[in-house]
Every structure is written in C-alpha cells, then in structure tokens.
C-alpha cells in the first residue's frame, strides 16, 4: 500500500527569530514637565505620562501584530543618575507595559547605555546557546536633557563601534527643546538624532512597532528599509 504522507508532528518547531529591542528611557525629574525640576521652559503637558502612554501603545501594537509579537523581545531600562532594569528581555505576551516613575536626579546617559549594551550582549549569548536565530538588536535611546556626568564619553564610542560593525541599530530621540542632540549623536554615527515634535511619543512608538513588524517578516538578506517618510509626522529637525 502506498502512503505518501508524513506526520506533521515530525516537523521541527524551531523557535521564531527574535529582534531584541532595548528601550533606554530618561526618567529624570525634568520629565515631569515642571521647570522647577529642570524641564525646558515652554514644555506643555507631562512628558513622563505621555511616554508611559506611548510605551503602553507600543506593547499593544506588538501584541496585535501576528509576526511581531513572536519576534520582538523588549527590555526597558529607566535612567536618571542611576539606571534600573524595569523589564528584562521577553516577548510581549499578556503582560502590561510597566508604568515608569520619575526617579533620581541627573542624566547619566552613558552608564545607562553601557548597561543596555551589556544586556543586549547577554541576550545574544543566550540566543546562541539555545539555538535561537536573531536579527540585529535595536537600542531606543531617549532623553529630554543633557548629560550630567561624563559617562557618555566612554559609552558613545562603544555604541558607535557596534553601529559601524552593523551589530546594533540606534534610535536616538530627543524630547522637547531641552534635549541635547549633540550628546545623543555620540551614540549614533549613522542616523541623526531626532527631536520629538511636542510629546508625540505615541506616534513614535506606532512607527517603531510597524518597523518591528516589517523586520520580523523579512527574509534572509532582504534589506530592511524603515519608512522614514513616516518619521516626518512626529519629528522636527
């Protein structure tokens, strides 16, 4: 008797290819929007609240995307004069986005980035040891101020070297008029830092999630072009 069939359970279920994304977010007191705490004059609204809404919308968008929700692994580091791992790397399942609180005093952006780069390295090591394939990691770096220490002097070249070696994609985002774009540029040799238009975090994170979706559907060696025309809607140059 001929039986030209096979059992589908004999197919191998390889883990889906991951995109590690580290959000490195400024939670220094100036993110309250209050000039008394160092916010730039003329800030309208409460940046930290808008940021939280943006991150929550990002989680929601990833969860709803069939390919992105299995691929994206998001970690969140909140920083001021110290940094805190708010969420370790994991895919977006049923968990809600964490609510970031204002914390500390100052903007030690360099040590926060170093911490993120260490986390990404560790995550890639875990992928390799478990045979999980992965895409180039992303670092989303946001600040509304300027560095209050010198840690960026060391961290900047480390991040830049990774970007130049095509081992990292950095999204440097300045929030409001007080953000020092020159400091952000130290971490990003390829892309110019962008200044968020007003507090359009939601628009930014919507664009970011659609970019994740685009990468998670890409095939080997399909060059990934992020839709930069959409950026114009939420940035000012």
């Amino acid at each position: 008797m001929t039986n030209l069939n096979f059992r589908e359970c004999d197919l191998i279920d390889n883990p889906s290819t991951r995109i590690p994304i580290c959000l490195c977010l400024d939670v220094s007191p100036s993110m309250s929007g209050n000039p008394l705490f160092g916010a730039a004059p003329g800030t309208v609204g409460v940046p930290i609240d808008e940021l939280n809404r943006g991150v929550a919308a990002f989680f929601e968008a990833l969860r709803e995307d069939p390919s992105a929700h299995r691929a994206a692994e998001v970690a969140i580091v909140a920083y001021a004069d110290g940094q805190q791992l708010v969420r370790p790397f994991s895919t977006i399942d049923e968990d809600r986005a964490p609510v970031l609180q204002l914390n500390g005093n100052g903007t030690h952006i360099g040590s926060a980035v170093e911490h993120c780069l260490d986390l990404l390295e560790e995550r890639k090591r875990q992928y390799r040891s478990t045979g999980v394939e992965y895409f180039q990691p992303w670092l989303v770096l946001m600040t509304d101020g300027k560095p209050t220490d010198t840690s960026h002097v060391q961290a900047g070249p480390r991040a830049s070297a990774l970007v130049d070696d095509r081992k990292l994609t950095v999204f440097p985002i300045g929030i409001g008029n007080g953000a020092n774009l020159d400091a952000l540029a130290r971490f990003s040799p390829r892309t110019q830092p962008l200044r968020l238009d007003g507090l359009k975090f939601r628009e930014f994170f919507a664009w970011l999630s659609s970019s994740v979706s685009c990468v998670s559907r890409s095939q080997p060696d399909q060059s990934i072009t992020l839709d930069s025309s959409a950026i114009a809607g939420w940035t000012t140059l």
Binding site: T2, D10, D13, Q219
Partner: protein
C-alpha cells in the same frame, strides 16, 4: 506554474533541460530516482514577489547532477540569477564526473552565469545574488557544493543526517551569495564516498530548512527520509507530485519563504540485492547467495547469517533497472 508536460515540451524545444523556478520535475537516473520541487513562499505570494528559488537536475551516465539556488530576497533580479547559476553549475558538474572541482572553478562558472544573465536582462551583478547547493553522484562518489544557507542531507541507514550545514552570518537575515566578494571563503566542497548504507540525498533551501532542521542541535526531521522513501513506494513522478502538494500545503505555510527541495533516492536494479540490516547487530550486511526468491545475507560485523525474501516494491517505476 510549470507542469512536467511544459518542462518536457520546453526541454524538447531546447534540446537540453533548463532550470525550473517554480514547479516540479522528476527523472530516473542510473541507480537513482530523483525529484525536485520549488514552491513559492506564502510571504512571497502576499508581497507579490516571484519564487526566487531555482533548480536543475540532470541524469549522467553514472548517476546525476543537481543544483538548487536561492535568490536573495533583497536582490531584484535574484530569480534570474538563481536560474542561470543552477543551470550552469549543474551542467558543469554533469560534464566533469569523477573529479573534485576546485572552489575557484565553481565560483567562476557561477559568476559567469550571473554575469551573462545581467548582460541579457540588465542591472547590477549584485542584483543577481543567490546561494548554491549542488551535488554530483557518480557511481559511489558524491560531491557536495554549498555556499550560504540551506542544507544538504544524506539518509544513512534510514536516518537523515546533515552532510553540509547552513552557513550564515550572525543575523537571521544575512547569508552568503555567489556575487559576494568573499564568496570563495564560504564555498564548501566535499568529495565523499557513498557506501550502501546511504539511500538518499536531499538538498533544500532555507525555507524548508526552518521546519526540517533543528537549528540548535543540527537534528534533521525524520520527514526528510520519509519523503525520500516515497520513491520506493511509487514512481519518481508520483512521489514528486506528492512532494509538491505536501510542500505547498504543509511546509510552505510554516516557512513563509520559498520552499525548494531536491530529493534523490537510491534504487536497485532487478538483479541487484537491496542491502539489509543485520538483525543481530544492526550493521549493514552484505549479500551471500540468492535462491528461490530468498537472499542469504552475511554480516561482516558479527559473522551471523540471515535470510530475507527477495522483494522489490511492486510499484517500482518501469525502467528502474537501468544499471
């Protein structure tokens, strides 16, 4: 989509078999039953992209040559590059049996094919980028040629094992192509001896590789040996048709990417005796004598003797006894 009738018509028209970019083809080669399929990925269907895999198989006086190429998703003419390279490499192998080719030589031929495709259709050479998976079986010699991802598997004593593993960069969306400047460092050639325990050779692109090869351990799904075994149950045409249906329905939807496989199964002629596993020690036993439809085997490992009924698959294709 090409059907076998189209292909044979086109073969007749051109005098030589040509590479196929979507569809299936099968043939009987000396000692081997060979089938190849290329199925457009569900992701490609959604994106309106063509199937960017191409293959060519051809029988030789003492075996067969086969080449399978996966066109780069990022390169706009990659399906033309894949077709040209598959054609050229397969023809080259078929014309040089018994010699281990140099990687420089193979690469030169592959690049020349991509070059002339570029000259015909226009565009940069890099837009014709593709990977290469190829084998030449010449009596008991097996040559494997491999650049980039995808995998070449052999069915040894009923179990599939990796002969040539996928080679890609750090990230899931990177690999190596014939048009890369450093392709030579990544082109792998093996010259192997086939013993009687090897019953199948399978080449596949990275699409089916995702569901047939465990990336962490290098374990190959038993499905690979299963589909090769279809050639024992049915003729090459029926087995390959079934493979195309299966790949479209069960493998391509999981892989999303284009899914191509070349499956070659060893066949034994009427007067040959199929090797058997020794029931005592599980080694492959050699033949003793044939009498009254029974074959006496002698095991070289444990010296035991056993008998088996002489049995050929009833549906073995006519003309199976070509050797």
């Amino acid at each position: 989509m090409n059907t076998i009738a189209d292909i044979s018509a086109s073969n007749a028209a051109h005098g030589v078999p040509r590479s196929i970019t979507e569809g299936c083809v099968s043939l009987q080669a000396p000692g081997w039953s060979v089938g190849a399929v290329a199925v457009r990925g569900t992701g490609h269907v959604r994106a309106g992209l063509p199937c960017q895999d191409a293959f060519r198989v051809t029988a030789t006086p003492d075996g067969f040559a086969a080449c399978l190429c996966d066109g780069a998703g990022s390169a706009e003419n990659s399906e033309l590059g894949a077709a040209a390279v598959a054609d050229a490499v397969c023809e080259f192998l078929a014309g040089h049996p018994g010699v281990a080719p140099e990687s420089q030589e193979v690469l030169k031929i592959a690049r020349a094919a991509a070059d002339s495709a570029a000259a015909r259709h226009g565009g940069e050479l890099a837009s014709y980028a593709c990977t290469v998976l190829a084998v030449l079986v010449d009596r008991n010699q097996l040559t494997t040629i491999h650049l980039g991802d995808g995998v070449i598997v052999a069915g040894v004593a009923g179990r599939p094992a990796v002969l040539s593993a996928p080679d890609r960069g750090e990230y899931a969306n990177t690999t190596y192509f014939v048009t890369d400047t450093r392709a030579e460092q990544h082109l792998r050639i093996q010259f192997l001896r086939l013993n009687d325990t090897v019953r199948s050779v399978v080449l596949m692109t990275d699409g089916p590789q995702r569901v047939l090869l465990q990336s962490r351990t290098g374990k190959v799904s038993q499905v690979v040996e299963g589909v090769a075994g279809w050639h024992d149950q049915a003729g090459h045409a029926v087995a390959t048709d079934a493979l195309e249906t299966t790949v479209s329905q069960k493998i391509a939807p999981r892989a999303q990417d284009d899914c191509s496989l070349i499956v070659a199964r060893r066949i034994w002629a009427e007067d040959e005796v199929i090797p058997a596993i020794c029931p005592s020690c599980a080694a492959w036993a050699t033949v003793g004598r044939r009498r009254n439809g029974r074959v006496s085997y002698h095991c070289p490992e444990c010296e035991s003797a056993f008998q088996k009924k002489r049995k050929r698959p009833s549906s073995a294709p006519p003309g199976a006894s070509t050797r």
